[in-house]
Amino acid sequence: MTIDAAAPFARVASAELRAADDLLVLHGIRKRWGKSPVLEGVDLFVARGALVSISGANGTGKTTLLRIAAGLIHPDSGEVALDGLHPERDRRAFLGRLGFLSAGDRTLYARLSPRRHLDLGARLGLLPAGNRVAAIERALGVFALDDFADRRVDRLSMGQRQRVRLAMTFVHDPALILLDEPANSLDQEGLDVLASYLEQLRSRGGAAIWCGPTGVAMPMASDTALRLAEGRLRPE
Protein backbone atom coordinates (compact mmCIF):
# COMPACT_ATOMS: atom_id res chain seq x y z
CA MET A 1 0.00 0.00 0.00
CA THR A 2 1.28 3.46 -0.86
CA ILE A 3 1.14 6.24 1.67
CA ASP A 4 0.51 9.84 0.73
CA ALA A 5 3.96 11.22 1.52
CA ALA A 6 2.70 14.76 1.01
CA ALA A 7 0.74 14.49 4.20
CA PRO A 8 3.10 12.98 6.79
CA PHE A 9 1.73 15.42 9.41
CA ALA A 10 -1.36 13.36 9.57
CA ARG A 11 0.80 10.60 11.01
CA VAL A 12 0.44 10.52 14.73
CA ALA A 13 3.34 9.74 17.09
CA SER A 14 6.11 11.11 14.86
CA ALA A 15 6.76 8.29 12.36
CA GLU A 16 6.05 9.19 8.76
CA LEU A 17 4.83 5.84 7.62
CA ARG A 18 1.90 3.86 8.79
CA ALA A 19 2.81 1.47 11.58
CA ALA A 20 1.62 -2.10 11.66
CA ASP A 21 -0.04 -1.68 15.03
CA ASP A 22 -1.81 1.65 14.45
CA LEU A 23 -5.06 1.68 16.37
CA LEU A 24 -6.97 3.72 13.78
CA VAL A 25 -6.24 3.90 10.08
CA LEU A 26 -7.99 6.39 7.82
CA HIS A 27 -6.37 6.22 4.40
CA GLY A 28 -7.36 8.08 1.24
CA ILE A 29 -10.76 9.03 2.63
CA ARG A 30 -12.94 10.86 0.13
CA LYS A 31 -16.53 11.91 0.67
CA ARG A 32 -18.85 14.25 -1.14
CA TRP A 33 -22.38 15.31 -0.32
CA GLY A 34 -24.18 15.68 -3.64
CA LYS A 35 -21.81 17.61 -5.90
CA SER A 36 -19.91 19.21 -3.01
CA PRO A 37 -16.66 17.48 -2.06
CA VAL A 38 -16.14 17.44 1.71
CA LEU A 39 -13.12 15.20 2.23
CA GLU A 40 -10.55 14.88 -0.52
CA GLY A 41 -8.09 12.18 0.40
CA VAL A 42 -7.68 12.36 4.17
CA ASP A 43 -4.93 10.22 5.70
CA LEU A 44 -4.74 9.80 9.44
CA PHE A 45 -2.93 7.05 11.33
CA VAL A 46 -3.52 7.08 15.06
CA ALA A 47 -1.10 5.19 17.27
CA ARG A 48 -2.03 3.57 20.56
CA GLY A 49 -1.78 6.03 23.42
CA ALA A 50 -2.22 9.06 21.14
CA LEU A 51 -4.40 12.09 21.66
CA VAL A 52 -5.15 13.92 18.42
CA SER A 53 -6.93 17.23 18.11
CA ILE A 54 -8.61 18.28 14.89
CA SER A 55 -9.86 21.80 14.46
CA GLY A 56 -11.48 23.52 11.54
CA ALA A 57 -13.95 26.17 10.56
CA ASN A 58 -17.68 25.33 10.55
CA GLY A 59 -18.65 23.14 7.62
CA THR A 60 -15.17 21.87 6.76
CA GLY A 61 -16.11 18.24 7.36
CA LYS A 62 -14.90 17.48 10.90
CA THR A 63 -18.13 15.76 11.87
CA THR A 64 -18.24 13.87 8.56
CA LEU A 65 -14.67 12.66 9.16
CA LEU A 66 -15.49 11.46 12.69
CA ARG A 67 -18.66 9.75 11.47
CA ILE A 68 -16.64 7.92 8.82
CA ALA A 69 -14.04 6.92 11.41
CA ALA A 70 -16.87 5.60 13.59
CA GLY A 71 -18.45 3.57 10.78
CA LEU A 72 -21.64 5.61 11.00
CA ILE A 73 -21.35 6.54 7.33
CA HIS A 74 -19.21 5.11 4.55
CA PRO A 75 -16.62 7.09 2.62
CA ASP A 76 -17.00 7.21 -1.15
CA SER A 77 -13.50 5.73 -1.27
CA GLY A 78 -10.65 5.02 1.11
CA GLU A 79 -9.86 2.64 3.93
CA VAL A 80 -11.06 2.65 7.55
CA ALA A 81 -9.69 0.19 10.10
CA LEU A 82 -9.79 0.14 13.89
CA ASP A 83 -7.38 -2.29 15.52
CA GLY A 84 -7.21 -4.00 12.12
CA LEU A 85 -10.99 -4.42 12.01
CA HIS A 86 -13.20 -3.35 9.11
CA PRO A 87 -16.25 -1.22 10.00
CA GLU A 88 -18.66 -3.44 8.03
CA ARG A 89 -17.14 -6.91 7.85
CA ASP A 90 -16.13 -6.94 11.53
CA ARG A 91 -18.86 -4.55 12.66
CA ARG A 92 -19.61 -5.94 16.15
CA ALA A 93 -15.95 -6.15 17.18
CA PHE A 94 -15.21 -2.77 15.52
CA LEU A 95 -17.98 -1.03 17.46
CA GLY A 96 -17.03 -2.81 20.68
CA ARG A 97 -13.69 -0.97 20.58
CA LEU A 98 -15.23 2.41 19.76
CA GLY A 99 -16.72 5.22 21.84
CA PHE A 100 -18.37 8.04 19.91
CA LEU A 101 -19.66 11.33 21.25
CA SER A 102 -21.65 13.27 18.68
CA ALA A 103 -21.82 17.05 18.64
CA GLY A 104 -24.77 18.83 20.17
CA ASP A 105 -26.95 17.66 23.05
CA ARG A 106 -28.89 14.83 21.42
CA THR A 107 -28.86 11.05 21.98
CA LEU A 108 -30.40 11.22 25.46
CA TYR A 109 -33.89 10.18 26.56
CA ALA A 110 -35.57 12.95 28.52
CA ARG A 111 -37.46 10.62 30.86
CA LEU A 112 -34.59 8.28 31.75
CA SER A 113 -32.10 8.81 34.57
CA PRO A 114 -28.31 8.74 34.06
CA ARG A 115 -28.20 5.30 35.72
CA ARG A 116 -30.81 3.92 33.30
CA HIS A 117 -28.93 5.48 30.37
CA LEU A 118 -25.72 3.79 31.47
CA ASP A 119 -27.49 0.49 32.01
CA LEU A 120 -28.85 0.71 28.46
CA GLY A 121 -25.41 1.71 27.15
CA ALA A 122 -23.75 -1.22 28.90
CA ARG A 123 -26.33 -3.65 27.55
CA LEU A 124 -26.00 -2.25 24.02
CA GLY A 125 -22.25 -2.64 24.44
CA LEU A 126 -22.95 -6.35 25.04
CA LEU A 127 -21.15 -6.28 28.38
CA PRO A 128 -21.61 -9.54 30.32
CA ALA A 129 -24.14 -9.23 33.15
CA GLY A 130 -21.41 -9.78 35.73
CA ASN A 131 -19.46 -6.71 34.58
CA ARG A 132 -22.37 -4.38 33.97
CA VAL A 133 -23.04 -3.04 37.45
CA ALA A 134 -19.36 -2.35 38.07
CA ALA A 135 -19.04 -0.55 34.69
CA ILE A 136 -22.09 1.60 35.45
CA GLU A 137 -20.88 2.52 38.94
CA ARG A 138 -17.42 3.31 37.58
CA ALA A 139 -18.84 5.61 34.88
CA LEU A 140 -21.11 7.34 37.42
CA GLY A 141 -18.10 7.89 39.67
CA VAL A 142 -15.62 9.01 36.99
CA PHE A 143 -17.99 11.61 35.56
CA ALA A 144 -19.25 12.73 38.98
CA LEU A 145 -22.85 11.73 38.28
CA ASP A 146 -23.54 10.06 41.64
CA ASP A 147 -25.51 12.95 43.11
CA PHE A 148 -28.10 12.91 40.34
CA ALA A 149 -27.75 9.35 39.07
CA ASP A 150 -31.46 8.63 39.53
CA ARG A 151 -32.85 11.99 38.45
CA ARG A 152 -34.56 12.30 35.09
CA VAL A 153 -32.31 13.76 32.41
CA ASP A 154 -34.81 16.49 31.49
CA ARG A 155 -34.32 17.83 35.03
CA LEU A 156 -30.54 18.13 34.64
CA SER A 157 -28.54 21.14 33.48
CA MET A 158 -26.97 21.11 30.01
CA GLY A 159 -23.52 20.55 31.50
CA GLN A 160 -24.78 17.62 33.58
CA ARG A 161 -26.40 16.15 30.46
CA GLN A 162 -23.09 16.44 28.62
CA ARG A 163 -21.45 14.46 31.41
CA VAL A 164 -24.11 11.76 30.98
CA ARG A 165 -23.37 11.67 27.24
CA LEU A 166 -19.66 11.35 27.97
CA ALA A 167 -20.25 8.59 30.51
CA MET A 168 -22.34 6.73 27.90
CA THR A 169 -19.43 7.04 25.47
CA PHE A 170 -16.99 5.44 27.93
CA VAL A 171 -19.17 2.90 29.76
CA HIS A 172 -18.17 -0.15 27.68
CA ASP A 173 -14.47 0.70 28.04
CA PRO A 174 -13.60 1.36 24.38
CA ALA A 175 -10.07 1.56 22.99
CA LEU A 176 -10.69 4.53 20.68
CA ILE A 177 -12.77 7.56 21.64
CA LEU A 178 -14.05 9.97 19.00
CA LEU A 179 -15.21 13.24 20.53
CA ASP A 180 -17.09 15.83 18.49
CA GLU A 181 -17.08 19.14 20.38
CA PRO A 182 -17.01 17.45 23.80
CA ALA A 183 -16.44 20.67 25.73
CA ASN A 184 -19.98 21.73 24.86
CA SER A 185 -21.62 23.11 28.09
CA LEU A 186 -18.93 21.58 30.35
CA ASP A 187 -17.63 23.68 33.26
CA GLN A 188 -13.97 23.57 34.35
CA GLU A 189 -14.62 20.64 36.70
CA GLY A 190 -16.24 18.72 33.84
CA LEU A 191 -13.30 19.46 31.55
CA ASP A 192 -10.86 18.32 34.25
CA VAL A 193 -12.79 15.08 34.70
CA LEU A 194 -12.71 14.47 30.94
CA ALA A 195 -9.00 15.30 30.71
CA SER A 196 -8.25 12.93 33.56
CA TYR A 197 -10.19 10.11 31.92
CA LEU A 198 -8.43 10.66 28.59
CA GLU A 199 -5.06 10.43 30.37
CA GLN A 200 -6.14 7.09 31.86
CA LEU A 201 -7.24 5.93 28.41
CA ARG A 202 -3.84 6.83 26.91
CA SER A 203 -1.94 5.15 29.71
CA ARG A 204 -3.61 1.82 28.96
CA GLY A 205 -2.97 2.05 25.22
CA GLY A 206 -6.21 3.64 24.09
CA ALA A 207 -6.43 6.72 21.89
CA ALA A 208 -8.74 9.65 21.32
CA ILE A 209 -9.56 12.17 18.63
CA TRP A 210 -10.93 15.50 19.82
CA CYS A 211 -12.71 17.61 17.21
CA GLY A 212 -13.65 21.21 17.81
CA PRO A 213 -14.15 24.45 15.99
CA THR A 214 -11.15 26.66 15.22
CA GLY A 215 -10.26 28.90 18.14
CA VAL A 216 -11.67 26.64 20.87
CA ALA A 217 -8.72 25.14 22.73
CA MET A 218 -8.56 21.64 24.19
CA PRO A 219 -8.14 21.57 27.97
CA MET A 220 -5.01 19.41 27.68
CA ALA A 221 -2.02 19.00 25.40
CA SER A 222 -2.48 16.76 22.38
CA ASP A 223 0.24 14.70 20.70
CA THR A 224 -0.76 15.97 17.31
CA ALA A 225 -2.80 19.05 16.46
CA LEU A 226 -4.34 19.04 13.02
CA ARG A 227 -6.59 21.37 11.09
CA LEU A 228 -9.11 20.26 8.50
CA ALA A 229 -9.38 22.64 5.59
CA GLU A 230 -10.32 22.22 1.94
CA GLY A 231 -10.96 18.54 2.47
CA ARG A 232 -7.51 17.69 3.83
CA LEU A 233 -5.80 17.48 7.20
CA ARG A 234 -2.91 19.89 7.76
CA PRO A 235 -0.73 20.61 10.77
CA GLU A 236 -2.15 23.23 13.11
Partner: protein, 284 residues
Protein backbone atom coordinates in the same frame (compact mmCIF):
# COMPACT_ATOMS: atom_id res chain seq x y z
CA UNK B 1 -6.73 -28.45 23.47
CA UNK B 2 -8.97 -31.25 22.26
CA UNK B 3 -11.64 -30.76 19.60
CA UNK B 4 -14.28 -31.38 22.25
CA UNK B 5 -12.90 -28.62 24.44
CA UNK B 6 -12.75 -26.25 21.45
CA UNK B 7 -16.35 -27.06 20.58
CA UNK B 8 -17.31 -26.46 24.21
CA UNK B 9 -15.60 -23.07 24.16
CA UNK B 10 -17.36 -22.12 20.95
CA UNK B 11 -20.72 -23.15 22.40
CA UNK B 12 -20.08 -21.17 25.59
CA UNK B 13 -19.12 -18.13 23.49
CA UNK B 14 -22.26 -18.42 21.38
CA UNK B 15 -24.47 -18.79 24.46
CA UNK B 16 -22.79 -15.79 26.05
CA UNK B 17 -23.46 -13.75 22.92
CA UNK B 18 -27.11 -14.86 22.82
CA UNK B 19 -27.46 -13.83 26.49
CA UNK B 20 -25.87 -10.45 25.72
CA UNK B 21 -28.26 -9.86 22.79
CA UNK B 22 -31.26 -10.83 24.91
CA UNK B 23 -30.03 -8.52 27.64
CA UNK B 24 -29.70 -5.64 25.14
CA UNK B 25 -33.21 -6.34 23.88
CA UNK B 26 -34.47 -6.33 27.48
CA UNK B 27 -32.69 -2.99 27.96
CA UNK B 28 -34.55 -1.46 25.02
CA UNK B 29 -37.87 -2.90 26.22
CA UNK B 30 -37.26 -1.52 29.70
CA UNK B 31 -36.30 1.87 28.24
CA UNK B 32 -39.57 1.99 26.28
CA UNK B 33 -41.61 0.81 29.27
CA UNK B 34 -40.10 3.43 31.60
CA UNK B 35 -40.69 6.19 29.06
CA UNK B 36 -44.27 5.07 28.41
CA UNK B 37 -45.04 4.78 32.12
CA UNK B 38 -43.63 8.24 32.75
CA UNK B 39 -46.43 9.74 30.63
CA UNK B 40 -49.25 8.78 32.97
CA UNK B 41 -51.79 11.05 31.24
CA UNK B 42 -51.28 9.20 27.96
CA UNK B 43 -51.91 5.86 29.64
CA UNK B 44 -55.13 7.16 31.17
CA UNK B 45 -56.34 8.62 27.87
CA UNK B 46 -55.56 5.31 26.13
CA UNK B 47 -57.82 3.50 28.62
CA UNK B 48 -60.58 6.08 28.18
CA UNK B 49 -60.37 5.78 24.38
CA UNK B 50 -60.65 1.99 24.70
CA UNK B 51 -63.90 2.32 26.62
CA UNK B 52 -65.39 4.92 24.29
CA UNK B 53 -64.25 3.00 21.19
CA UNK B 54 -66.01 -0.12 22.43
CA UNK B 55 -69.09 1.92 23.41
CA UNK B 56 -69.35 3.30 19.84
CA UNK B 57 -69.42 -0.20 18.35
CA UNK B 58 -71.76 -1.40 21.12
CA UNK B 59 -74.36 1.15 20.02
CA UNK B 60 -73.71 0.68 16.30
CA UNK B 61 -74.27 -3.05 16.78
CA UNK B 62 -77.82 -2.30 17.96
CA UNK B 63 -78.62 -1.43 14.33
CA UNK B 64 -77.29 -4.71 12.92
CA UNK B 65 -79.85 -7.46 12.46
CA UNK B 66 -78.67 -9.16 9.26
CA UNK B 67 -77.10 -12.57 8.59
CA UNK B 68 -74.62 -13.95 9.48
CA UNK B 69 -75.30 -12.14 12.77
CA UNK B 70 -78.23 -13.49 14.74
CA UNK B 71 -78.35 -10.58 17.14
CA UNK B 72 -76.75 -7.18 17.83
CA UNK B 73 -74.61 -8.97 20.46
CA UNK B 74 -73.18 -11.21 17.74
CA UNK B 75 -72.06 -8.23 15.67
CA UNK B 76 -70.62 -6.51 18.74
CA UNK B 77 -68.58 -9.62 19.58
CA UNK B 78 -67.44 -9.79 15.94
CA UNK B 79 -66.20 -6.19 15.97
CA UNK B 80 -64.57 -6.43 19.42
CA UNK B 81 -62.15 -9.01 18.02
CA UNK B 82 -61.63 -6.79 15.00
CA UNK B 83 -60.83 -3.83 17.27
CA UNK B 84 -58.35 -5.94 19.25
CA UNK B 85 -56.57 -7.06 16.06
CA UNK B 86 -56.62 -3.49 14.75
CA UNK B 87 -54.74 -2.46 17.90
CA UNK B 88 -52.08 -5.08 17.17
CA UNK B 89 -51.89 -4.00 13.51
CA UNK B 90 -51.65 -0.37 14.47
CA UNK B 91 -48.94 -0.95 17.02
CA UNK B 92 -46.80 -3.10 14.73
CA UNK B 93 -47.15 -0.60 11.89
CA UNK B 94 -46.32 2.28 14.26
CA UNK B 95 -42.74 0.97 14.53
CA UNK B 96 -41.48 2.77 11.40
CA UNK B 97 -42.85 6.03 12.89
CA UNK B 98 -41.11 5.29 16.19
CA UNK B 99 -37.93 4.56 14.27
CA UNK B 100 -38.19 7.89 12.45
CA UNK B 101 -38.67 9.63 15.81
CA UNK B 102 -35.46 7.99 17.04
CA UNK B 103 -33.66 9.09 13.88
CA UNK B 104 -34.89 12.67 14.25
CA UNK B 105 -34.05 12.77 17.97
CA UNK B 106 -30.57 11.39 17.26
CA UNK B 107 -31.08 8.50 19.67
CA UNK B 108 -30.92 5.93 16.88
CA UNK B 109 -27.28 6.89 16.34
CA UNK B 110 -26.48 5.37 19.75
CA UNK B 111 -28.06 2.10 18.63
CA UNK B 112 -26.30 2.10 15.24
CA UNK B 113 -22.92 2.68 16.90
CA UNK B 114 -23.33 -0.01 19.53
CA UNK B 115 -22.03 -3.57 19.14
CA UNK B 116 -25.71 -4.62 19.37
CA UNK B 117 -26.07 -2.96 15.96
CA UNK B 118 -28.80 -1.28 13.97
CA UNK B 119 -30.49 -4.43 12.67
CA UNK B 120 -30.88 -6.09 16.07
CA UNK B 121 -31.88 -2.75 17.59
CA UNK B 122 -34.58 -2.20 14.96
CA UNK B 123 -36.01 -5.63 15.69
CA UNK B 124 -35.78 -4.95 19.45
CA UNK B 125 -37.67 -1.68 18.97
CA UNK B 126 -40.69 -3.78 17.97
CA UNK B 127 -40.89 -5.77 21.17
CA UNK B 128 -42.34 -3.24 23.60
CA UNK B 129 -45.06 -1.88 21.26
CA UNK B 130 -46.20 -5.43 20.57
CA UNK B 131 -46.18 -6.39 24.28
CA UNK B 132 -48.07 -3.20 25.08
CA UNK B 133 -50.60 -3.89 22.31
CA UNK B 134 -51.13 -7.44 23.60
CA UNK B 135 -51.71 -6.07 27.11
CA UNK B 136 -54.15 -3.50 25.77
CA UNK B 137 -55.90 -6.28 23.84
CA UNK B 138 -56.48 -8.13 27.12
CA UNK B 139 -57.75 -4.92 28.74
CA UNK B 140 -60.12 -4.30 25.80
CA UNK B 141 -61.49 -7.82 26.03
CA UNK B 142 -61.87 -7.46 29.78
CA UNK B 143 -63.77 -4.17 29.43
CA UNK B 144 -65.93 -5.68 26.68
CA UNK B 145 -66.85 -8.62 28.95
CA UNK B 146 -67.37 -6.67 32.20
CA UNK B 147 -68.90 -3.43 30.91
CA UNK B 148 -70.62 -4.45 27.67
CA UNK B 149 -71.50 -8.07 28.42
CA UNK B 150 -69.43 -9.69 25.65
CA UNK B 151 -70.09 -13.41 25.52
CA UNK B 152 -66.82 -15.38 25.45
CA UNK B 153 -66.35 -19.07 24.64
CA UNK B 154 -64.35 -19.82 27.79
CA UNK B 155 -63.60 -23.40 26.72
CA UNK B 156 -61.37 -22.20 23.89
CA UNK B 157 -60.61 -18.61 24.95
CA UNK B 158 -57.21 -19.51 26.41
CA UNK B 159 -56.02 -20.36 22.88
CA UNK B 160 -56.41 -16.67 22.03
CA UNK B 161 -53.22 -15.80 23.91
CA UNK B 162 -50.77 -17.93 21.87
CA UNK B 163 -52.73 -17.03 18.76
CA UNK B 164 -52.46 -13.32 19.54
CA UNK B 165 -48.71 -13.64 20.16
CA UNK B 166 -48.27 -15.63 16.92
CA UNK B 167 -50.38 -13.05 15.09
CA UNK B 168 -48.21 -10.24 16.43
CA UNK B 169 -45.09 -12.06 15.18
CA UNK B 170 -46.79 -12.66 11.83
CA UNK B 171 -47.46 -8.92 11.50
CA UNK B 172 -43.77 -8.14 12.12
CA UNK B 173 -42.54 -8.69 8.52
CA UNK B 174 -44.80 -5.90 7.23
CA UNK B 175 -43.48 -3.57 9.95
CA UNK B 176 -39.88 -4.57 9.17
CA UNK B 177 -40.38 -3.76 5.48
CA UNK B 178 -41.60 -0.27 6.40
CA UNK B 179 -38.75 0.10 8.92
CA UNK B 180 -36.28 -0.76 6.14
CA UNK B 181 -37.87 1.85 3.86
CA UNK B 182 -37.60 4.41 6.69
CA UNK B 183 -33.90 3.66 7.20
CA UNK B 184 -33.13 3.90 3.51
CA UNK B 185 -35.31 6.84 2.54
CA UNK B 186 -35.93 8.66 5.87
CA UNK B 187 -39.69 8.04 5.71
CA UNK B 188 -42.19 5.37 4.79
CA UNK B 189 -45.21 7.30 3.56
CA UNK B 190 -47.29 4.24 2.68
CA UNK B 191 -47.72 2.84 6.17
CA UNK B 192 -51.02 4.58 6.99
CA UNK B 193 -52.45 3.61 3.61
CA UNK B 194 -51.29 0.02 4.22
CA UNK B 195 -53.00 0.02 7.62
CA UNK B 196 -56.26 1.21 6.04
CA UNK B 197 -56.08 -1.35 3.21
CA UNK B 198 -55.23 -4.25 5.53
CA UNK B 199 -57.97 -3.23 8.00
CA UNK B 200 -60.48 -3.23 5.14
CA UNK B 201 -59.30 -6.42 3.45
CA UNK B 202 -58.91 -8.54 6.58
CA UNK B 203 -62.54 -8.07 7.61
CA UNK B 204 -62.03 -6.40 10.95
CA UNK B 205 -65.51 -4.86 11.04
CA UNK B 206 -67.46 -6.94 8.50
CA UNK B 207 -67.13 -10.42 6.96
CA UNK B 208 -64.62 -10.57 4.09
CA UNK B 209 -67.32 -12.27 1.98
CA UNK B 210 -68.90 -8.83 1.56
CA UNK B 211 -65.83 -7.52 -0.26
CA UNK B 212 -66.02 -7.34 -4.08
CA UNK B 213 -64.36 -10.38 -5.69
CA UNK B 214 -61.48 -8.30 -7.08
CA UNK B 215 -60.42 -7.36 -3.55
CA UNK B 216 -60.42 -10.90 -2.18
CA UNK B 217 -56.80 -11.50 -3.17
CA UNK B 218 -55.70 -8.82 -0.68
CA UNK B 219 -57.44 -10.82 2.05
CA UNK B 220 -55.45 -13.86 1.04
CA UNK B 221 -51.90 -12.48 0.90
CA UNK B 222 -51.51 -11.04 4.39
CA UNK B 223 -51.47 -12.47 7.93
CA UNK B 224 -54.27 -10.33 9.36
CA UNK B 225 -57.21 -12.22 7.80
CA UNK B 226 -56.33 -15.67 9.23
CA UNK B 227 -55.39 -14.14 12.60
CA UNK B 228 -58.65 -12.29 13.07
CA UNK B 229 -60.67 -15.25 11.81
CA UNK B 230 -58.98 -17.71 14.19
CA UNK B 231 -59.26 -15.32 17.12
CA UNK B 232 -62.99 -14.92 16.47
CA UNK B 233 -63.31 -18.68 16.26
CA UNK B 234 -61.65 -19.39 19.62
CA UNK B 235 -62.92 -16.32 21.50
CA UNK B 236 -66.56 -16.03 20.44
CA UNK B 237 -67.18 -19.24 18.50
CA UNK B 238 -67.71 -17.42 15.19
CA UNK B 239 -67.37 -19.79 12.20
CA UNK B 240 -64.33 -19.46 9.96
CA UNK B 241 -64.92 -17.83 6.54
CA UNK B 242 -65.91 -20.22 3.75
CA UNK B 243 -62.89 -22.02 2.35
CA UNK B 244 -60.68 -21.34 5.39
CA UNK B 245 -59.64 -24.23 7.63
CA UNK B 246 -57.99 -24.06 11.04
CA UNK B 247 -54.91 -25.88 9.73
CA UNK B 248 -54.70 -23.65 6.67
CA UNK B 249 -55.00 -20.45 8.72
CA UNK B 250 -52.38 -21.64 11.24
CA UNK B 251 -50.05 -22.64 8.38
CA UNK B 252 -50.41 -19.19 6.81
CA UNK B 253 -49.58 -17.43 10.10
CA UNK B 254 -46.61 -19.77 10.63
CA UNK B 255 -45.37 -19.09 7.08
CA UNK B 256 -45.39 -15.34 7.69
CA UNK B 257 -43.36 -15.87 10.84
CA UNK B 258 -40.86 -18.40 9.49
CA UNK B 259 -40.37 -16.90 6.03
CA UNK B 260 -41.43 -13.30 6.50
CA UNK B 261 -39.35 -12.37 9.56
CA UNK B 262 -35.96 -13.45 8.12
CA UNK B 263 -36.76 -11.59 4.88
CA UNK B 264 -37.79 -8.51 6.90
CA UNK B 265 -34.60 -8.66 9.00
CA UNK B 266 -32.50 -9.03 5.84
CA UNK B 267 -34.19 -5.97 4.32
CA UNK B 268 -33.51 -3.94 7.50
CA UNK B 269 -29.86 -5.01 7.37
CA UNK B 270 -29.56 -4.02 3.69
CA UNK B 271 -31.32 -0.72 4.39
CA UNK B 272 -28.92 -0.02 7.28
CA UNK B 273 -25.93 -0.47 4.96
CA UNK B 274 -27.65 1.67 2.31
CA UNK B 275 -28.30 4.36 4.93
CA UNK B 276 -24.65 4.34 5.98
CA UNK B 277 -23.53 4.54 2.35
CA UNK B 278 -25.91 7.37 1.38
CA UNK B 279 -26.02 9.18 4.71
CA UNK B 280 -29.79 8.81 5.15
CA UNK B 281 -29.15 7.44 8.63
CA UNK B 282 -27.80 10.81 9.82
CA UNK B 283 -29.53 13.45 7.69
CA UNK B 284 -32.01 14.86 10.21
Amino acid sequence: MTELALAGNRLAGTLGLVRAYLSATAGIVRRDAVIRASYRGTLLSTLVSVIFGLATFYFVSKLVRVPPFNSPGDYFAFTVVGIVVFGLMQSSLSIPSNLRQELVAGTYERLVLSPFGSTAATVALMVFPILFALTMALVELGVAVVVFGLHVEWDTAALALPLGVAGAFAFAPVALVFAAITLAFKQAPGQNAALAVFALASGLYFPVALLPWWLHWISEIQPYTPTVALLRHVLIGFPLPLGMSIAGAVAKIAAFIVIGIPIGVLLVSIAGRYGRRHGTIIEY
